[in-house]
């Protein structure tokens, strides 16, 4: 580890220097920092490091093993690529947030105990939200707040789980867990929120499209993949996850198919890809876990590439709404090519996604889940349609919206180019990625049948798209949004809250008013009798004083003699 600084923390601490450096130096520094981290990690041994006792808990800040290493590598790579993509950006806050966020993600991956995990977990939430706010629009601000609350919500669930765990076992070690008690359930839900499980997923398509051009690229890499990692670490082989994952793989596609905002389309398809990984975690076999790791690795790359391409479009055109784009291949030919490579990388042979995804699919098939396998097949065809073909088509071809602009800035081209190269290299030379995987499993992706079958899948998906477009069955891109589960907390909950307030508030206010009035009345009443002119404060004539004496004496005598 570099200078004895744990991975992750290197980036986080390194961030503190960023605001002190002038422009160009700063960019160089920001690029070198994750590079240095990657270099340090490459030479790292496996094991648990820096352990110490805090309170009564054994803290293991760094645990390096096969699984964490894969994620560590790809997170560093993603950080480098994202930084390059953001070279043109001079927003200090965004720069710092991006690096710190990457660092938190890396830190979380190497966390060996729940407390460390919780710390990085929350750090991811708090740093990443800046990338959304950096868009500096009202809607970005609101989306950021929603995002933050949900992310922190995941954090506090994790905290609750960890607390219960500590309460039950006295230990906060982060190892494989089994469902069955409240603690592990809470932890699973915490992971599930960041992993965008169905009904917890809305933060993803809500926030990512609202983030800044460069922010989304950062965002797409870390949070969800980190969640996949912790699931793979904590809950491998949990059957429930298979069904959850299958649902996740399928339903976001329907939204992706009709959504207008192309970055939202990507967000939904990201959600769908997570489903594949969750299924892999649920299957839990060595092959499946390998699939999860490989898929996460590849997915970070190609999803970054797609988000970069859309980011470039947003940066140049100012919008990524399908209804307003089209024909950009003339203005942005390179971006178009990179985007196509990104789309191809989802599952085309010779590209990264192909060699990764098939691991999961065959793991599911091997363990005998036919329905799940069918769903995954459906999802894998569908995702190519919506996140590959649809994106490329609507952004760069389709109906020429008449928008003309410059090609993406050079740094973006470099970033996209590098990512594209990585996608291809990994796809062409599969052993390289496979050698990084945590488990030793012999798997050969490039069999004839596999390649042909995959090509069939892709081409028939494209055929379907072509036919649908040609015969105008494909829903046209229009300016609109589609209701998702987030209506519960964006619409219904506020309405319910307002309704309750409108019920309670008048009563409460009138109660306070009554109280105040009552108090005033009481004082007024007292004043009538006790005020300077009141009966009790007036100077009585001597005679009536004497009368009172007599009365009292009489009274006493009466009592005594009776």
């Amino acid at each position: 580890m570099l200078w004895g600084i744990p991975p992750g923390l290197l980036l986080i601490l390194g961030v503190l220097l960023v605001p002190l450096l002038p422009g160009a130096w700063r960019k160089a520094y920001m690029t070198i920092l994750p590079l240095a981290g990657l270099w340090a990690l490459a030479g790292a041994e496996t094991g648990v490091f820096y352990t110490f006792t805090f309170f009564t808990y054994e803290i293991a800040p760094v645990r390096i093993d096969g699984l964490s290493l894969v994620f560590g590598y790809i997170f560093h790579i993603a950080a480098i690529l994202s930084v390059v993509f953001a070279w043109h950006n001079n927003d200090t806050v965004e720069q710092m947030a991006g690096l710190a966020y990457a660092g938190s993600g890396i830190g979380a991956v190497f966390a060996g105990d729940l407390i460390t995990l919780f710390i990085y977990w929350e750090a991811m939430a708090t740093t990443s939200v800046f990338l959304i706010w950096a868009r500096r629009s009202d809607s970005a601000f609101r989306a950021g707040m929603r995002y933050l609350i949900i992310q922190v919500g995941s954090g506090v669930l994790l905290l609750s789980g960890a607390i219960l765990m500590a309460h039950q076992t006295g230990s906060v070690a982060f190892d494989k867990m089994t469902l069955g008690n409240l603690a592990t359930w809470l932890i699973l839900i915490a992971f599930g929120i960041k992993c965008a499980f169905p009904f917890f997923h809305n933060w993803l398509p809500d926030a990512y499209p609202e983030a800044s051009v460069t922010g989304t690229v950062f965002l797409s890499a870390f949070t969800t993949k980190c969640a996949v990692y912790v699931l793979a670490r904590g809950f491998p082989g949990t059957e429930l996850l298979i069904y959850v994952g299958a649902a996740m793989a399928a339903f976001p596609l329907f939204y992706a198919a009709i959504e207008n905002d192309l970055r939202r389309v990507l967000a939904y398809s990201l959600n769908n890809q997570l489903g594949f990984m969750v299924v892999g975690v649920g299957v839990g076999s060595a092959l499946a876990i390998n699939g999860v790791a490989a898929h996460a690795f590849a997915h970070i790359l190609y999803k970054s590439l797609l988000f970069m391409a859309m980011g470039a479009v947003l940066y140049r055109v100012g919008t990524v709404k399908a209804s307003e784009l089209g024909g950009l291949h003339k203005s942005m030919p390179l971006t178009t090519i990179f985007c196509i490579i990104g789309a191809a990388s989802i599952s085309t042979p010779l590209f990264a996604g192909f060699i990764a995804k098939s691991l999961t699919l065959s793991a599911a098939a091997k363990d005998g889940y036919p329905v799940i396998w069918l769903i995954l097949m459906f999802a894998s065809a569908g995702v190519f349609l919506v996140s590959g073909v649809k994106i490329v088509y609507f952004a760069f071809f389709a109906n020429d919206g008449g928008k003309r602009c410059k090609e993406a800035p050079l740094n973006m081209q470099i970033a996209m180019g590098l990512t594209a190269i990585l996608c291809v290299v990994i796809g062409v030379y599969s052993p390289w990625l496979y050698s990084l995987l945590p488990n030793d499993v012999a798997y050969e992706p490039y069999t004839l049948s596999h390649v042909i079958n995959q090509l069939q899948t892709l081409i028939f998906s494209a055929l379907a798209f072509a036919l649908l477009i040609r015969f105008k069955f494909y829903p046209p891109a229009v300016n609109s949004i589609y209701l998702d589960f987030d209506i519960t907390y964006r619409k219904w909950l506020p309405v319910l809250y307002k309704w309750i307030v409108s019920l309670v508030s008048p009563g409460w206010k009138s109660m306070l008013q009554d109280l105040r009035n009552g108090l005033h009345r009481m004082v007024a009443y007292m004043f009538r009798h006790h005020g300077p002119e009141g009966i009790l404060a007036r100077t009585w004539p001597t005679g009536s004083m004497a009368l009172w004496v007599a009365l009292l004496l009489g009274g006493f005598l009466l009592i005594y003699y009776s």
Binding site: M526, F527, H530, G531, P532, G534, L536, A537, T539, W540, T542, M545, A546, W548, V549, L552, L553, G555, F556, L557, I559, Y560, Y561
Partner: protein, 493 residues
Amino acid sequence: MLLAHLPALVIVIPLICAPLCVLLRGKDWAFIVALLATWASFACSVLLTIQVMKVGTISYAMGGWAPPYGIEIRLDALNVFILLIVSGIGSVVAPYARNSLLLEHIEERAYMFYCAYLLCLCGLMGVAVTGDAFNLFVFLEISSLSSYVLIALGSDRRALTAAYQYLVMGTIGATFIVIAVGLLYQATGTLNMADIANRLPEAGYTNRTVIAAFAFMVIGAGLKIAIFPLHQWLPNAYTYAPNIVSAFLAATATKVSVYILLRFVFSVFGVEFSFVSLPTAIPLLVLAVLAMFLPSIVACFQTNVKRVLAYSSVAQIGYMVLGLGFVSVAGLTASILHLFNHALMKGALFLVLGAVFYRIGSCNIDRMAGLAKQMPWTMAAFVGGGLSLIGVPLTAGFISKWYLILAALEKGWWYIVVLIVVSSLIAVVYVFRVIEAAYFRDAPDDLVNVAEAPISLLAPAWILVFANFYFGVETSISVGIAERAAQSLMGAG
């Protein structure tokens, strides 16, 4: 052997010095005589207290005639405590007289004041020391008559009517007392209080004469104490009297009257008669509770701060009667303790108001606005006394409330506890009204350049304020004596 005659000396000194003031005429000479006389009696009281605490009850036969035929001076813990209060307050107040009187336009009649003052002191102390029922009446009249004079000295014209009312009511009260004494004499054939106490059981608890005597005594003393609703003479008398007189009377006169009630009800008639055979406790408790509330609320609405304090006195008397009504050692301890503590706090507050009046010629709450800036020491003393009046811990007022509430808890009467607490809160209101005005309002335009009160006024006030704090922290003396007095009254000591 002067020490042996201390019990007599303590009242004889002011008695002799009173005419001396008139004879000397000069206001400075009269002042010096009065000052020396009060201090001498205070010294005697202190010595007596020490003696009593050491050897127990002292009996002194006036002129050598042995009781029950001669006049007996009888001193137990309660007597010396009262003695201590009266002479103590007297000697703190006396030096104040010089300056306070100056402003109230009676300096040419100053010797008259000192004479009346000494007579009043003598009378009050006489009540406290005598063991003879009729004598007690005589001393009471001495003090009352002189206090009418003192009140009438007030610069406000209304002082005269107030004094007149006080005279009428006081006379009624005194008459009731003398009627009671007469009836007792009829029933027992003696005037010595200890003797009466001994012979009463023979006369029988159902004897109508004795019961009538008891009723007259309670009402008579109650009138002098200003038990609600017999308090009507008090607010005016205290308000319009010269400030020094208000301070002196508020701190002593009512206390002595409470002593009379205690002495007769507990020692002479006895607990058995007063509370077991007759239902005295309940009416007293009811009156006490009313007193704790109604005058307190009235005090909240008053604009003249002296009047606020006067009504507050009526309320505080409620506490004393309440403790008495518990008919327990704890209750009596609280009652007697409050007697002492209330003398300290009210004395202090009235002295402070004297200082205020000296500078701004008014005790109106609006005139006192913003005064804390100009007269910081004076108002600080007011705050000190006020805190004690509320019953804030570390002040004397807290200790008496502490015992009062403990007594109520001992009885299991938690609702009384609630009432005590609530009435304390009302005290917070009227005290803070004044503090708020003095500290947080701006002074009226014509009063922005008021000087601090002279040291001769401040020193006595601060001595009493200090006493309030001292007896709030170091309670062994006050609580010690009060406990012993209570035990002896309940017949346990």
